[in-house]
């Protein structure tokens, strides 16, 4: 008993948080595949996972690094098409194709990140549009990328890893979940490292960072590389697991804005922000459709609904920018702090 005084007691808060994450993960791995219907997986969970990952990648660059990008969808497209072509032409396995796709997206990300060495803020955002338009143009123009398919739309290869067939909804969900969880852990490590600190330093005061010897250029380009690689993998999930087709159409400017909105709503420079924002962006239109079909019983047609969705989403974004620039993440943070205080008192 006398020993117990010497054992350092870990702060309970950290344990609670780790436990909570572990519980969440256990539910996601063990419970969700059993209870979730194919509809829930295909209409909600798969787009949620793909967009969360894209948001996570963009948050690294924009939230932590301060480099605004409107080219996210382009890097999703690069990832999807690169994985498809590596599998098609080199016959590599899916895991290797994903690694190569991430590397391809990283390389292209660095190229389109070069303007960031000179441009900032609004001007940089506009220059990343070049990536958006160039990639979409190239993928549409050169049918080689789509294996000369007449429509430009190709079916994604069957999802198999080793001898595991993941083509059913549950399998695709677990495939996406594995990638997202692994990469999220990696991002967690990155933002906690000295390199992550450098990234924030460059965002907060580039001149000071440069003068004290933070490698500003390298930091920016590495941020572009890693961010693009992650968004590229998100593109693979989007095309392979969610849509099950590889096509340029969905990777347009709208998608880029969607990913940007995800991190603004969810919370810049936070990891959970990407997930919270993606959840809202995915679930909100479905809720809206449900509500309208319930309330107006089909009187509102799909076009009008789409329009309403956009207007409301726009309002939500403006609301967040004004009232809670730190996003859902900050709201969640306050809520859990309050809960903790109540628990401690009770």
């Amino acid at each position: 008993m006398s020993l117990s005084a010497d054992v350092p007691v870990a702060p309970p808060r950290v344990n609670l948080r780790a436990l909570g994450l572990l519980a969440l993960l256990a539910v996601a791995v063990l419970v969700v595949p059993v209870i979730a219907s194919p509809y829930v997986i295909e209409a909600i969970l798969l787009p949620f996972l793909a967009l969360s990952l894209a948001g996570l990648g963009l948050n690294l660059l924009t939230g932590y690094g301060g480099q605004v990008s409107l080219g996210s969808a382009a890097f999703m497209a690069v990832g999807a098409f690169a994985a498809y072509n590596f599998q098609l032409r080199l016959g590599v396995s899916l895991p290797l194709a994903i690694v190569l796709a991430a590397a391809t997206a990283a390389a292209i990300g660095v190229v389109f990140g070069l303007p960031s060495l000179r441009l900032r803020g609004f001007y940089l955002a506009v220059s990343t549009l070049a990536a958006q338009f160039f990639v979409q143009w190239a993928l549409t123009k050169f049918s080689w990328f789509s294996n000369d398919s007449a429509s430009g739309v190709v079916a994604a290869p069957r999802l198999t890893v080793a001898s595991l067939d993941l083509d059913a909804p549950q399998g695709r969900y677990l495939f996406a979940l594995t990638l997202v969880v692994g990469i999220t852990f990696l991002v967690h490590r990155i933002v906690g490292s000295r390199a992550g600190v450098n990234l924030i330093a460059v965002r907060d005061d580039e001149t000071a960072a440069k003068v004290i010897g933070v490698p500003v250029l390298r930091t920016k380009l590495v941020a572009f590389a890693i961010s693009s690689a992650i968004i590229g993998v998100a593109g693979v999930i989007w095309a392979y697991a969610y849509l099950r087709t590889v096509e340029p159409a969905g990777f347009n400017l709208d998608r880029s804005f969607q990913v940007l909105f995800i991190i603004i709503i969810g919370g810049l420079a936070t990891i959970r922000g990407a997930f919270l924002g993606a959840a809202l962006i995915v679930v909100f239109p479905l809720l809206l459709a449900r509500t309208s079909s319930f309330a107006f019983e089909g009187l509102v047609d799909a076009g009008v609904l789409k329009l309403v969705e956009r207007v409301v989403l726009g309002l939500v974004i403006i609301l967040f920018l004004i009232a809670e620039p730190n996003g859902l993440s900050a709201i969640l943070g306050r809520a859990t702090a309050r809960l903790r205080a109540v628990l401690r008192r009770g």
Binding site: L186, R194, V197, D204, T207, A209, V211, I212, G213, V214
Partner: protein
């Protein structure tokens, strides 16, 4: 505290790059020598033919009214502004243009007139950033938590704690720097510069906005750092009392021209200074 003294005392010969430290150690070359520096912004001639040197271990003040060109001079030395003419010599190495991104490696550190801390980082992370220039472990080693990266971080943390204890800010290391009082932020800024163990430290109005007590504390720190490490300090400061008390030599700028240069006693007697600077201060 005793470890702090030892480390700071040994700091003079460790500015990162071996070449420069050898030059600094073997010659009695000035820590800094400026020769004929000119700088203009459009029509404004911010610096006119400024020559100026700082001896190792010296506290060298630059005074002058607002707009005299003091900050511009420090920015030229930092490589943030490019001089139209003239050279900067640091520890015997001449530069037509100072490379801002290599400043820390050359053994020069600075603070900024308007705080240039990283508000999104803690005080400790801000200070540790001052060591980024000599960091060896790469991103992969850090993410994988390789032992080289871990021990490097641990070493950095130790140095951060030492310098923070020395400046009396050890208690706020884990606080976000943006939540700290202004006077404490100024100390963090100084710590971020000092942790790099520079040979030359440039302080651009380190006491601006501080209370009388904080000023006295800052002055004591500046003197203590110099006494223990023997680094050279350029001090830009408006408080004449502090300047006279702290500095070994004072240069006076007015409208981009160096109008006087000498010991505090000489400067106090200089009729030109009394007319141009002290007069302007009074106005």
């Amino acid at each position: 505290m005793s470890t702090t003294v030892v480390r700071l005392a040994a700091a003079g010969d460790a500015p990162g790059s071996g070449v420069f430290s050898v030059a600094a150690a073997t010659t009695s070359a000035p820590a800094l020598a400026l020769d004929g520096i000119c700088l203009s912004f459009g029509g404004i001639r911010a610096l006119r033919d400024i020559s100026f040197d700082v001896a190792p271990g010296e506290i060298r003040a630059i005074i002058g009214p607002n707009g005299a060109g003091k900050s511009s001079l420090v920015n030229v030395i930092s490589g943030l502004y490019r001089a139209d003419a003239g050279t900067v010599q640091i520890a015997g190495q001449a530069f037509a243009r100072m490379p801002a991104s290599r400043l820390a490696k050359i053994g020069v550190a600075r603070t900024f007139q308007n705080l240039a801390l990283f508000p999104g980082l803690t005080a400790a992370q801000n200070i540790a950033s001052g060591l980024a220039f000599r960091r060896r472990s790469g991103l992969l080693a850090q993410v994988l938590g390789l032992s080289a990266a871990r021990s490097e971080s641990a070493r950095e943390d130790e140095e951060v704690r030492e310098i923070a204890a020395f400046l009396g800010i050890g208690g706020v290391l884990d606080r976000l720097v943006s939540t700290l009082p202004y006077g404490v932020q100024k100390q963090v800024d100084l710590a971020r510069a000092l942790v790099a163990e520079p040979n030359l430290l440039m302080l651009d109005e380190p006491m601006a906005g501080l209370t009388v007590t904080e000023k006295a504390e800052m002055a004591a720190h500046i003197r203590a750092v110099r006494d223990r490490t023997g680094l050279a300090i350029i001090l830009i400061e408006h408080d004449i009392g502090v300047v006279m008390e702290l500095s070994d030599r004072i240069a006076v700028l007015d409208h981009g021209v160096k109008i006087a240069d000498g010991t505090p006693v000489e400067i106090r007697r200089d009729p030109e200074v009394i007319r141009a600077y002290l007069g302007a201060e009074a106005a």
